[in-house]
Amino acid sequence: LAKTTQPISMDSYEGQEVNITCSHNNIATNDYITWYQQFPSQGPRFIIQGYKTKVTNEVASLFIPADRKSSTLSLPRVSLSDTAVYYCLVALNYGGATNKLIFGTGTLLAVQP
């Protein structure tokens, strides 16, 4: 069954760079890969989105290899306020013309002082 998988948790210290990877083996051909951040009792919040290669914005970078079967979210110089759960969201192809929007399993990032 096609799915997306992420590490359950990661620990880091303030000022470090953090890389979180999502594996998505049946990704649909034409859809984007999107990453969201979620704090307790809030809805997910958009971080970054890409299709292939590398995308960078003011808060993160996203690395996508040519086969698009994985993606890596890179957070430069994390701070305590980056402690949250991070999800990838992709459209997976289950065969035929139907694509399914699937969130990853989520990675809890804990940033320590």
């Binding site: 859809d31 984007y32 999107t34 009792s41 809805g43 997910p44 958009f46 989105q49 969130f103």
Partner: protein, 115 residues
């Protein structure tokens, strides 16, 4: 710009009762999504509307869950009758177009507890 609004924020019901959630998407957004997020898991898509038509409802338990978006703006999600395993946060999101994994904007969610 106002965000996605949801109500109520919290709801406690007993099993076999019915419950309804309401969502008002960002103005001008054609696509609306309802997700179920069980504690410790990622959101699971229940239903996706584009305007007032259903794009995907393959993971909606249709024997007890229903959703509508009559005028292509607000939406309601109903559970009847509720089961214990329906305890979760119900998230509503909207996007401008909805094609190709467009950015979704989420509301704060409705936390449902079924006793």
């Amino acid at each position: 710009e106002a965000g996605v609004a949801q109500s109520p924020r919290y709801k406690i019901i007993e099993k076999r009762q019915s419950v309804a959630f309401w969502c008002n998407p960002i103005s001008g957004h054609a696509t609306l999504y309802w997700y179920q997020q069980i504690l410790g898991q990622g959101p699971k898509l229940l239903i996706q509307f584009q305007n007032n038509g259903v794009v995907d409802d393959s993971q909606l338990p249709k024997d007890r869950f229903s959703a509508e978006r009559l005028k292509g703006v607000d939406s309601t999600l109903k559970i009847q009758p509720a089961k214990l395993e329906d305890s979760a946060v119900y998230l509503c999101a909207s996007s401008f177009g909805g094609v190709g994994g467009e950015t979704q904007y989420f509301g704060p969610g409705t936390r449902l507890l079924v006793l």
